[in-house]
Symmetry: C2
Subunit: 208 residues, 2 copies
DNA sequence: AAAAATTAATCAATCGATTAATTAAATTTG
DNA sequence: CAAATTTAATTAATCGATTGATTAATTTTT
């Protein structure tokens, strides 16, 4: 592909991702995407087959990116506690960068209108799920962790993230005292989030 | 109002709430609402002024219902621990009944496209927020609870609920091993959720 | 008879998508 | 290398369908 072709494709992908995340799938018109990206509407269908094809392409882009990232974590020869902390750190560190696409995915999954997209999203999210599950199960097997309702614990971890990302207005009310739209995910809050999740897991998996 | 008028209004409200929760605001057409409710499209504008007015009416209905429910909890002369458990029990017990409207609210808040609706939602959700905050702060003040990052703890509680309601496909994967659309919020799961939240709060607020 | 409720028909606007025509780039050929 | 040809990329215009909303006429209730 030439540089121009890549430019056009990537510009559409980048603009569309932001608009989809801000407005949702239905409220984002192909005309708006084309206008903001500075390209003709037909290019959107030319490259991606249509609005839904573009949506899938955005998810698949992050899907492959995320797959590469996930591979080299669980191979290390460290304790279950350290694995847990590494996972939480990397999980929280990724939040700022992947905020748009995550908001997008959870909205889409919540509605479950487009089954093809839904399958993609579930496949992507289940990767994280399996990874943390394995860390905990291994820890239980080697006696580091107690046998507890780890699924609920995992639900609380992912849920806390969703609350900060997808319910940011009311989360701002909780953390800042007002529900405006200033940036909630400050570095300070992410540090607090890491400490909180580590503490929660540690207490739950050992002191119970 | 006559019985017929009430029937028509309430039928529209009930049908629209389900459709909005299932499809989202944009994907739910006024024609579909009218068809499912068995009324003329014009009735929707006649009673509610339009699609968005209907949306607001649905929220306000739950808004007032919820306000009545919230009043008589915090007056009891019980310990902070018991208040916490009462709150969690009532919070979880309300999940099944309010699942549709809660899914709807969090989707709407996540997109934040309609500021009038957003204000309503934030006002409604902040009631729960203030209530649990007061319980914890009182507990800290009277020495029952440790001084901890209670805001993060609250975020985890609300987040866990959102995860079960709005991310139900991947939550089903976590709890049932498959991501189908069978009912996730079984009585058994709600019991587990209660136990988990109580344990999480107790550990966090005392053993840290 | 007056008011309220309901209906059918239609409005302009916007949607995603597609077409045919045009320009730019790449490839082949002499 | 350069002209000719083919392919790729882009544009403007338009398609039918659907959207939320409204109107005027009709039926029902008071």
């Amino acid at each position: 592909m030439t540089d121009n072709r890549l430019d056009t494709k990537n510009k559409i992908l980048a603009i569309a991702e932001g608009l989809f995340a801000d407005l949702g799938f239905d409220a984002t018109s192909t005309r708006l995407i084309a206008k903001e990206a500075g390209v003709n509407i037909a290019m959107l269908h030319y490259y991606f087959g249509g609005k839904e094809g573009l949506y899938v392409a955005i998810l698949e882009k992050h899907f492959t990116e995320n797959r590469l990232r996930l591979q080299n974590i669980n191979n290390d020869n460290i304790s279950s506690f350290e694995k847990l902390e590494v996972f939480i750190d990397s999980y929280v560190d990724n939040m700022k960068r992947t905020r748009s696409i995550q908001r997008l995915m959870y909205i889409e999954m919540s509605l479950s209108l487009r089954s093809k997209l839904n399958d993609h999203i579930i496949e992507l999210l289940s990767k994280n799920l399996q990874q943390i599950k394995k860390i905990i199960e291994d820890g239980v097997a080697n006696g580091t962790f107690n046998k507890v309702d780890s699924d609920m614990l995992i639900a609380s971890m992912f849920g806390t993230k969703i609350y900060l990302i997808n319910a940011s207005p009311v989360a701002s009310l909780l953390f800042n005292g007002h529900a405006n739209n200033e940036e909630l995910l400050t570095d300070e809050l992410l540090v607090r989030l890491k400490a909180h999740l580590k503490k929660m897991f540690k207490l739950y998996l050992t002191k119970s």
